[in-house]
């Protein structure tokens, strides 16, 4: 029996302000401006393992009104594509 996880993080190109707030996201080769950041939160977990999780999540609204969940970990940006 094998299962495939859903929503594994995939890398994403995000243009962010120096303060770390996402300003625009490149989706399918097109740059989409972030209209609003609906929420942001930190997730720190599995610190007792060799692969600790330290993520800063942002729930953003992109230019045409599309909702997207992105997070930054270790300087890189990722998305789960939840809500896309």
């Amino acid at each position: 029996m094998s299962t495939r996880p859903i929503g594994t993080p995939s890398p994403l190109r995000v243009i962010a302000t120096p303060g770390g707030v996402p300003h625009a996201v490149v989706v399918d080769g097109r740059r989409r401006r972030v209209i609003a950041v609906r929420d942001d939160w930190l997730v720190q977990d599995r610190w007792w393992t060799d692969e600790p999780i330290d993520r800063h999540y942002h729930e953003v609204v992109l230019e045409p009104g599309r909702l997207m969940l992105i997070f930054r970990q270790g300087g890189d940006w990722f998305t789960h594509r939840i809500g896309a």
Partner: protein, 400 residues
């Protein structure tokens, strides 16, 4: 001639091998996480320090400060015994399992097949797992063969002829007889401490001292045959397991995994036309050791919902996060014996068609072509741990 393979202290030896701990150092099996805080089987060095099975852990450390507590590994021990039973059955022997103590079988039907008793014993020696110090005894009766196995030297089977049985049994302690403790104490009170002393009793005295239930033990002490080995029906083993890349300990994820495994087993059982009689759950704990439970079903069934009712509550007993969950099923039950319903249930036709559609899609495109979303840890803060895709089970045909 009855052959008995005795595996002394098998759970302890398996746990020591897995932990890389020597057998000649003081060590004992650690208490089970969900049980009383008493130590399990002990090495001879621990016994010499006054530690014994059933002693409270604190008292054991007080008696033997250098005692090492070894985490039990029941799953590995059960696998070891099962491998030996399968090897013996592959050699043509009709084997009666003696729990984790070993196995017994009547060698007469296979003596000509293997060229006499020596050939049979060669096959038995080959079947005994390496490193567990198996002992082999041969005697005309099951009880005598068992005692011979307990007295045998390592690598040298002890063979008793009919004429040797009574003389061999005579000096053994009376506790070896299948007698209730009260009967043993009653015998000890009147100075009957060995099997030979009990065998020397006249029938009337044995009946008075041991009761009706003890007369059979008295007959065994006199070398009479007793019951023959009761061979098991070789099971049609089915198993399914799931590996967890990250240790998982939440009940929700364990139940989700359990449901998936049971559906896989139920589908395989239905394909054979049988039904599940027993299930064995096993889990490899993340920090070493293992956990195992047996589940006997009241009625043989291949219905996933009924299997879930029996199995899922047991998963709450897993004491720590696990890296592997395994379910084995004894599918030797027959599908018959159930009464068919007189009134067809609504949706039967739909289920039959859906099942056929699933089978056709799978046949054309493979098992991975039809997937479904299963919940793993719905409350996890990490999104990729909440759900997963798993192969879609075939809808069960309408069967009571």
């Amino acid at each position: 001639m009855i052959v008995v393979v005795h595996l002394p202290l098998l759970p302890l030896r398996v746990a020591l091998i897995r932990a890389g701990h020597p057998f000649d150092a003081p060590a004992a099996l650690a208490p089970a996480p969900d049980g009383p805080q008493v130590v399990g089987q002990c090495t001879p060095a621990a016994l010499a320090c006054g530690v014994h099975e059933g002693l409270r852990a604190g008292e054991a450390f007080a008696r033997c400060p250098q005692l090492a507590l070894i985490r039990p590994n029941p799953e590995e021990a059960a696998d070891t015994v099962e491998r030996m039973l399968c090897a013996l059955e592959a050699a043509g022997c009709a084997v009666e399992p003696l729990g984790q103590d070993g196995a017994a079988f009547d060698a007469r039907p296979v003596m000509r097949l293997h060229g006499g008793l020596r050939g049979v014993l060669a096959r038995v020696r080959a079947a005994v797992p390496v490193g567990v110090d198996g002992r082999i005894g041969v005697a005309p009766t099951l009880f005598a063969a068992h005692q011979a196995a307990r007295a045998a030297e390592r690598g040298a089977p002890l063979v008793l002829d009919a004429a040797d049985v009574v003389r061999f049994l005579a000096p053994l302690p009376a506790e070896r007889l299948p007698l209730p403790d009260r009967a043993v104490e009653a015998c000890r009170d009147v100075g009957l401490r060995t099997v030979g002393q009990i065998a020397a009793l006249p029938h009337a005295a044995a009946l008075e001292k041991l009761g009706f239930a003890g007369v059979e033990a008295w007959e065994l002490a006199r070398g009479l045959p007793g019951r023959p080995p009761r061979p098991r029906t070789p099971p049609a083993p089915l198993s399914a397991q799931m590996e967890f890349p990250d240790p998982s300990g939440t009940l929700g994820s364990l139940e989700s995994a359990g449901r998936l495994l049971l559906e896989e087993i139920a589908a395989a059982v239905r394909a054979t036309g049988g039904a599940v009689r027993m299930l064995r759950l096993g889990a490899r704990l993340a920090d070493g050791g293992s956990w195992g439970r047996g589940v006997a079903l009241r009625d043989a069934t291949a219905d996933p919902a009924r299997l879930e009712l029996a199995v899922l509550p047991r998963l709450a007993e897993i004491p720590a996060p696990i890296t592997r969950l395994r379910i084995e099923a004894d599918a030797s039950g027959g599908a018959g014996g159930h009464q068919l319903t007189a009134i067809p249930a609504p949706g039967r036709e739909r289920m039959a068609r859906a099942g056929e559609a699933v089978r056709q899609v799978r046949a054309a495109l493979g098992d991975e072509a039809l997937l479904r979303v299963v919940e793993l840890e719905a409350d996890s803060r990490i999104p990729e741990r909440r759900w997963a895709l798993a192969p879609h089970p075939e809808p069960a045909p309408d069967r009571p």
